[in-house]
Structures are given as C-alpha cells and as structure tokens.
Symmetry: C2
Subunit: 210 residues, 2 copies
DNA sequence: TGTACATCAGTGAACGCGCGTTCACTGATGTAC
DNA sequence: TGTACATCAGTGAACGCGCGTTCACTGATGTAC
C-alpha cells in the first residue's frame, strides 16, 4: 500500500512508511520481529534506503516503541472517557482506577506484540525511560491524576498517597505479563477473566486499605 | 574447570557440564546469552558434542530454565525458613506472605539473568508450563500453602480465598519486571527500596481486604 | 523561463558475523566368548 | 586373561541462514542566477 502511494524514485514519506511497516511487524511478532530489512522490503524500498531516515535498526525499533507506548496511553484514556461516571466521588475514583487497570490488561492481551514492544529494551541511550520522562503524556500521568483525585475526594488518606502509582502499576503489569508469557498462559478464557477480575479487586482493595 | 576434571577423550559428565556453563551464561546475560556453541567452548568440547546430550539448543535452554525455577523456589523457601515466626498465627501468616514476596523480588533483582531465564519462552512443547505443573514443587505451591494457612488461622475469610495466588504473584512479579527492565529501572537504590516496600504493603493489604 | 549545480534520497552488490546444525569420521569403552 | 566387535562419545570441517551494515553509485529535486 505504501508502495502504491509511492510516486517515482523518491518515496515522499519513507520515514513514516517504514515506521508503519515496522509497527505492523511489531504488532504481530513483538519487538524481535522488527527487522529493518523486512520493513524496507514491505515499504517497497531497498534496505539501504532506511539509513537515510534512521541511524540504526535500534533507532527504528525505538520509534515503534514510542508509538506503542502512545497507543497504550490513548487506549486507556479513551476507554476511561467512554465509561459512565458514578455520583459519589470516592466510588467514582475507584471505578476509574479499576477501569484503567482493566484497559491496561486488555491492551496487553489483545495487542500483545505492541505491548511487548512498548516495554522492550532498545539498547539506546536514554532507553528504559526514567519515571521522570513518563510523568508527561503517559499512562503514568493518567494513573497519577486519578490517584490524586481519589485523595482529594477523601478516598485515600494523604499519608498513604506516596508511591501508590508503582504499586498499582505493578499489580496490573504483573497480571498482564504472567498471562502473556508466564505461568498463567494456559488458562482458558473464562479462567482468565476470573483471575483478572480477582486481581483487580485485590489491587484496588490494597490501594484502598494499604 | 570442567576442562580440568576431564579425563581423556571422554568427558564423563558432559551433560551436566554443559548445563553448568549454560547456567553461568544465563546468570550473566539472561536466556539470550545461552548459546550452545559458547557453552560447549567453555566446557572444552566441540559444539557438536552437545548434540549427544541435548537434541537442540532449546533443549539445553530448557534445562537451564528448569534449574532456574528450582533455584528461585529454593531461595524463597530457605529465606522463609530462616526468619523468626510470630506468636499470633494470623500475623505470622501475613509475615510469611510478605517474606515470600520480598524473597521473590530480591531474587529477581540480584539474579536477574536467572530470573529472566526462569520465565523465558523456550518454544518447546509443554513450555509455558500450565499452572497444574507448577502446583508441585514450586513457588506457586509455597504461596498456596501459605494462603491456606492464613485461611485456617482466620486471617482470610474462605469465600475470598479463590485465585489469591495469581493476585499475589502478579503484584510481586509486576514490581520485579518493572524494575528489571521497565520504567522503574532508573530508580536509585533507596527509591527502589521504598517502592518495593510500599508495593508489598499494598499487596498484603489487598489480600487481607480484597 | 532556462540552465548549472549542490544536495537529497534512493539503488544494488557485497561483507562479516555468529549462530545452529549436519555430515562423515575416529578414538574410547565395555561386553561376549 | 585376551581378543573381536558393537556401541558410545567425541572431532572438525562445512553449510546455510538472515541479519545489520558499508560502499560507491545514480536518479530526482530545488535553488541561484
């Protein structure tokens, strides 16, 4: 398709086309599937051409990783926005928290390749983005804001507020990873649903009482 | 070293020697570092010799994976046994739960290569061991037994018992993964200590109240 | 509007890498008689 | 105790693979005059 939009010798927007193809590879096979030569092939271009736009294969992978992270955040946000708020602000805060967690896990299970890519090593300097980077425009920020609202509404005493992001994140991330390629991979869909539900209950209860 | 114990043309115990070397590779570089040729090299043997004892590179990796899982369980068990019990059975149950979680995370952070190997794909049939397999001789069994004791002692109402293993496991696994190569990788040692502590508090509270 | 020329964005052949794996082989070991 | 022979456990050369990457190149584009 990017091939059909190509006009003549010059591609026009090869950088984006390559990321698109790499994205498709990642989506289907995770970060290991992001092969520079294959992305170029699919874009209808010689492998060398990629080096006009990316310094490295890692550079290309990193672009996909960024996009995958954005997609995760966008999915969570939109799922949150789509749901109906509750009148009680405390209940509403907890509902949001649970919805965020559910959306995170759902993304991980339905877009496994992208999820794994969002959390892969690219080996690039500045990779393993420090939390500081994540605070802006990320799942972390959304989560953080939700927790803040919960404190304001009186749902969580302020002295228990610190570091709740990490605890909440760990709970949902753990479930996602254990199901994706850990010991919970063999569960049936129904068992899986139950386990996810239970884990979310426990996580929310932990934030409420711990 | 395995080279020095070698007597003559026949090695004597090449299978174990290869796993030892592969183990050392995994310990230092994770599952990707388990290179059959390198393990053979280190064992002082031609690469081909490995095929007398393992059908595949995957087969060798799987042996290391098994051993890494056992090591994780052994570490958790011994750390649990080494700590002082509390008089109150409920408090003791929660103390054990927390100690197990702490040991799990500690193993993940100090033996990262082995931890990652314990949870890697080997692509072998029967890999991604179903939970059923794990119930015997595993971290899962230890956790399960601890939760059972907690129910018996009255620390958890029986109706809230189901699926707590997965929830607890997810919490500690999530923290470990996020720190090992996720967004929490850049924390200082002190921040890390605080985050782990907080996450354990929240997880235990969740199990107690959720 | 036309031309000269720098720059940009591609090409395609080639390399090195290190791996896993196969092959035909040979030296060592153990067992039957 | 000695010998024949099957079997076991190694050897070393070689292959194919597909990758990332470099190289010298050429076609297309845009700008100055």
């Amino acid at each position: 398709m990017s091939q059909t939009t190509r006009r003549g010798y010059h591609h026009g927007d090869l950088a984006n086309a390559l990321v698109d193809e790499a994205w498709a590879l990642a989506r289907q096979g995770g970060p290991e599937a992001v092969v520079l030569r294959e992305a170029a092939r699919r874009a209808g271009v010689s492998a060398t051409a990629a080096y006009r736009h990316f310094t490295d294969q890692r550079d290309l992978l990193h672009a996909v990783k960024d996009r995958a992270q954005e997609k995760l955040v966008a999915t969570m946000s939109s799922e949150l926005a789509a749901s109906a708020p509750l009148p009680d602000p405390v209940a509403e805060g907890y509902r949001q928290l649970r919805a965020l967690g559910a959306a995170y896990i759902d993304f991980a299970l339905t877009e496994t390749g992208l999820f794994r890519t969002a959390f892969c090593h690219t080996g690039r300097d500045g990779d393993d983005a420090p939390v500081a980077d994540l605070v802006e425009a990320s799942a972390y920020a959304t989560l953080s804001a939700t927790l803040d609202r919960l404190v304001e509404a009186g749902g969580i005493p302020p002295e228990r507020r610190p570091n709740l992001e990490a605890a909440a994140w760990a709970a949902v991330h753990g479930i996602a990873v254990l199901i994706i390629d850990g010991p919970l991979a063999r569960l049936t869909d129904e068992e899986r649903r139950v386990v996810i539900d239970r884990a979310l209950d426990v996580a929310v209860a932990g934030i409420a009482h711990g």
